[in-house]
Amino acid sequence: MTILSAFRKRSLFICAAALLTSCAATDVAQREPGSRPENKSTDEAGIWRQMEKAEQRARTSGERIYDKKLNDYIHNIQCKIAPEYCDDIRIYVMQRPYSSATMAPNGYMEVWSGLLLRSENEAQLAFVLGHETGHFEENHSLEQWRTMRNTANALMIVSVAGAAAGVGLVGDLGYLVAIASLFAFSREKEEEADLLGIIRLDRAGYAASEAAKSWENLIAEVEDSSFRSKKRKIARASIFSTHPVTKERVRYLTEKAKTLSYGTKLGQDQHIAVISPFLENWFREDLRLKDYGTSLHLLTRYEKAGIRPGLVYYMTGEAYRLRREDGDNELAIGAYQKATKYADTPAAAHRALADFHVKKGEDAAALKSYRVYLDKAPAAPDKELIVHRIQTLQRKLAGTGS
């Protein structure tokens, strides 16, 4: 009994010491435009160098989108949002079908195609860029690193003390508490970046209400996900989650937007015009993720907005065709038929329709659609295959005398 209470006293003391260490200052001053770490022996210089290497890999990555118009568009928004950091931030547009943007402490930013596809307008994209700028200007990466270091030190003190007491790694509870505090810090930073972002959004002349909108869109999209685990993730609140619960974000961003009334711009037309050439490619990539629930949600949003109906109906057909649930074939055919009414639908829409006609034994209709396909895509890579199919169908139809 006495040994146990002695140990308890000692471990309490050690935990206190550990906590004190972890409270060592981690707040870093706001970043000066154009600043770089001068002293190469600091932790900041070490992190900067790692980020430079990562940036070089991104710069030469096979996933990079080099299109000048797209890059200039995003760069201009960034400089409107944060004119003082215009020269400090370098943006790389990556072909990745997830809604994301990342910011490194040396000014290297990535914007992913999935985000561009999901932004309804310039303002929503601008908010995300403002959010990332918030992380940059407040040196969140460095602060987070130092917090981790202090926490690790604290944990280590606990475990060494444990070894000293002969009880091995006694830090389980200490570990959990430390991890939780680590993530809480991270949530605070996300909220700070959100609020900095929305202020920048408004000041740059964009409608502040669009900040919450981009999160609302994401929530609605994920609610339609075909994967249960994905649906749970976005709503789950636990002390271990790194991002504030998304609904919570919508709430405080909506509240904040009520106090900001300077900006009004949405910029939908400009945004759609810039991303239009990439839509077919990006929707195709999105389908590869096999979450047809979210793909169809996104396509429905585009359909309701009346954007590129010929393409959107074709992609909708593809989503149903690939999903292959009960009744999806009919839904696919319906979508392809809607698509083929538009002159600008991809030629492949006609081929897709023809393939279904063949499956259903509707040879005359299939023949017609294959011919339209070859008409619209005379240099198609599968030309020989389609020509062969046309000939086979012609023979069949001649044979039956129809």
Binding site: K40, G46, R49, T60, S61, N153, M156, A163, A164
Partner: protein, 239 residues
């Protein structure tokens, strides 16, 4: 790039003197006595401070200094048999297409670690060493003075902080222990005509081979390149 660091760290378990473990291509190859041009890819160095709590703090100053030391050390070593050494700066000289070849090399080196040095040795590779980057390396030959060979080096590791050494002492006293820092370097010789990796070696740094110092880097490189075909003495060679 991450898999390389992880694989390299496996090698770091070897302590003591600088130890090496060399592989040579089993495809027939021959190196001429005198070589015109060698493309020396700037050493890729990542050194960090291993703190008492087990965190690796990357150190830009150590990495930059070691990179300079290794680069000049390699140039000296090659000077004997090679007429010209072209140093290629990883950050500024390479365009996106050339960079893909460097990334490919790193991926192949990763595979070599796994299947020749690591635990997952492939039975089909047991008596063979025939790794290659493919003839696409000829674009590097064209871009860099018609070089016939390229040398890649990657170095990584950490150095224990004073705090960690003290903690280690304390833990030993209590009957426990922790790993102290170590550093390793790998080098490969690539034939830029065929893309074959002709020679591959890994060296784990001993106490006299601290690459942050010029002398230490020289010692480390001497061990590393002892069997490098470009510097081996051949019978009747001229100086």
């Amino acid at each position: 790039m991450k898999p390389i660091w992880l694989s390299l760290c496996v090698i770091l378990l070897i302590a003591g003197c600088t130890t090496t473990d060399v592989e040579r291509s089993t495809n027939a190859f021959s190196i001429p006595e005198k070589i015109d041009t060698v493309m020396l890819v700037q050493p890729d160095v990542d050194l960090s401070l291993l703190t008492a709590s087990g965190m690796n703090e990357p150190r830009a100053d150590w990495s930059a200094q070691a990179q300079l030391n290794l680069e000049s050390g390699l140039k000296d070593i090659l000077a004997d048999k090679t007429k010209k050494v072209i140093v290629v700066d990883l950050e500024s000289d390479l365009n996106a297409e050339d960079m893909q070849l460097v990334k490919l090399h790193n991926a192949v080196a990763s595979a070599i670690f796994q299947h020749k040095y690591g635990a997952m040795r492939l039975p089909t590779k047991k008596d063979k060493f025939d790794y290659t980057l493919g003839a696409g390396t000829q674009r590097l030959k064209q871009a860099y003075g018609g070089a016939d060979y390229a040398i890649f080096t990657i170095a990584t590791g950490n150095y224990s902080s004073a705090g960690r050494i003290l903690t280690q002492a304390a833990l030993i006293y209590f009957g426990s222990g922790m790993q102290l820092g170590s550093q390793a370097i790998m080098a490969s010789l690539v034939d830029l005509n065929s893309g074959d990796i002709l020679w591959f070696n890994v060296a784990s740094a001993g106490p006299a081979a601290d690459m942050r110092e010029a002398e230490g880097a020289k010692n480390l490189l001497t061990s590393l390149t002892k069997t490098l075909p470009l510097t081996e003495e051949t019978a009747g060679s001229e100086k």
